[in-house]
């Protein structure tokens, strides 16, 4: 099967999966419940999500472990189950993926280093424990995502590189400012991101979440201006959520997402998938466009 980055180096465009959090909610995850706990309590539902993306044509599927550091799990009293929950997450996706790839999802800790919430060492240890659990469960790559702070991203990359054999990927989340630039919550631009993440050892970088796929085109263009070689992944939201009668709805349809895929490729993306609000149908449409264009 080889490595994901090797396939990219051979010129392949790959499809990743869609949303996990919003999919779990559809399956009955309540606000205030710990999503990662479902890896043990509702393994069939978690497996179904992974499987539905593989069946939709994804080349890789993530794991249900976004909030899997001790900092997040600790808020649910599960701080001592980090390894176990992450291993279970990777095992479920591994089982669904067959010969496709598994990306072990690692989200932010929710702690701010510059405020002294935690030390760099504590953060490193938290990411290390999570990454090792994901590797033990069969993850091919560690997918560090939704990062907004460069220091946290750098520490997560280092922890995954130094303690696992997995490929290490990292994406950050950007929004458009009033003046039309892309910045993370902590003020980091895609250009700022590139060198730091690559120097830290990320083998693939990119962007996830955000306000929809249209913005991703500009973000990828900016990344490509700063680095023409590094593999780039995009996990786009299905737009900004709209709230109606007690339910949230993500407005971008599978067709709308698929329509922008050629532009994302022109901008230089190598892997395309979805984030919040995207469904297996979104991934199926993305796969169709790729099959009919160049893959």
């Amino acid at each position: 099967m080889g490595k994901i980055v090797d396939q990219i180096m051979q010129g392949r465009i790959l499809v990743s999966d869609g949303a996990w959090g919003t999919f779990l909610q559809q399956k009955g995850l309540k606000a205030g419940e710990c999503p990662e706990e479902w890896n043990l309590s509702h393994p069939d539902d978690v497996y179904d999500i992974a499987k539905s993306y593989i069946e939709a044509g994804a080349d890789m599927v993530e794991t249900n472990s976004f909030g899997g550091t001790c900092f997040k799990l600790g808020r649910y009293g599960l701080g001592d189950k980090v390894f176990e929950l992450n291993k279970a997450a990777a095992e479920l996706s591994r089982k669904a993926a067959g010969n496709k790839f598994v990306l072990g999802s690692v989200g932010p800790t929710g702690k701010i280093l510059m405020m002294g919430d935690v030390s760099e060492d504590e953060m490193y240890e938290a990411f290390k424990e999570q990454a090792m659990g994901l590797e033990a469960g069969g993850a091919d790559a560690i997918m560090i995502e939704t990062m907004t702070d460069l220091d946290e991203a750098r520490i997560a990359i280092r922890a995954a590189k130094e303690n696992t054999q997995c490929e290490v990927f990292c994406t950050m989340t950007f929004e458009k400012t009033l003046s039309g630039e892309f910045r993370s919550m902590m003020g980091i631009s895609p250009t700022d991101m590139v060198n730091t993440l690559v120097d830290a050892g990320a083998e693939l970088i990119g962007a996830n979440c955000g306000n929809g796929i249209a913005n991703m085109i500009g973000i990828v263009e900016e990344i490509r201006k700063a680095n023409s070689a590094v593999p780039v992944l995009v996990h786009a939201n299905a737009g900004m959520p709209v709230y109606c009668d007690g339910e949230t709805h993500f407005p971008e349809t599978p067709e709308e997402m698929a329509r922008l895929v050629p532009e994302l490729l022109r901008a230089g993306a190598n892997i395309i998938g979805g984030c919040c609000g995207t469904t297996p149908e979104h991934i199926r449409k993305v796969r169709e466009v790729l099959s009919s264009t160049r893959c």
């Binding site: 205030g32 003046s179 709230y243 919040c276």
Partner: protein, 222 residues
Amino acid sequence: MNEILSKIAGCVEFGKINRAAPYPPHMKDQEGADELTRQALEEGVSAQDILTKGLMPGMERIGIKFRENKVFVPQVLMAAKAMSTALVHLKPFFLTGEVKQKGTFIIGTVEGDLHDIGKNLVSMMVEGNGWEVIDLGIDVKAETFIEALKKHENAIVGLSALLTTTMVNMERIAKAIRAEIPEAKIAVGGAPVTQDFCDRIGADAYSADPQGLVEFLNSLVA
């Protein structure tokens, strides 16, 4: 007196905590909010003036720059740190009643939501603008908000949510507060929240940024 107050405002605006703090680079080796506030008190400047003519203008300037996307979360956090360092010296005067705060603001992240970065940011901005802030924390139930409102009469309440799924709880909590305390002033905020949502759930104010909330609060006591 005006000179030292404007220096304090500058320390807050640029997040200069004390002389030893390396941030911001352009104020290296200068006195920070800590030293200047102590010095001002020693010189006989009133604690009230330090709050309203030093700290508040500094917080207002950083709040406006944040709204305009000219600075981001780290700069606001540093400003808030400088502000709270100065506030430590003013706290005794709050307790004696020598310094009057504008009112009380109760804030919490709604039930089911465990995110606190936005809520903390808002609470620091509001405090730095001369309000007493009561932070109920994360995963806060309707009853807890209502209890706090009953305990602090005339307080204004702010509900925060980051997850789209907890907007449902925000709606439920806002309505529960309204049913129990019809005259309550309720503000809502957080990434998925919009003005339209605010209107629909019967809340009184929404702002996309902390400064807008501060302006709303100030308008209630103007």
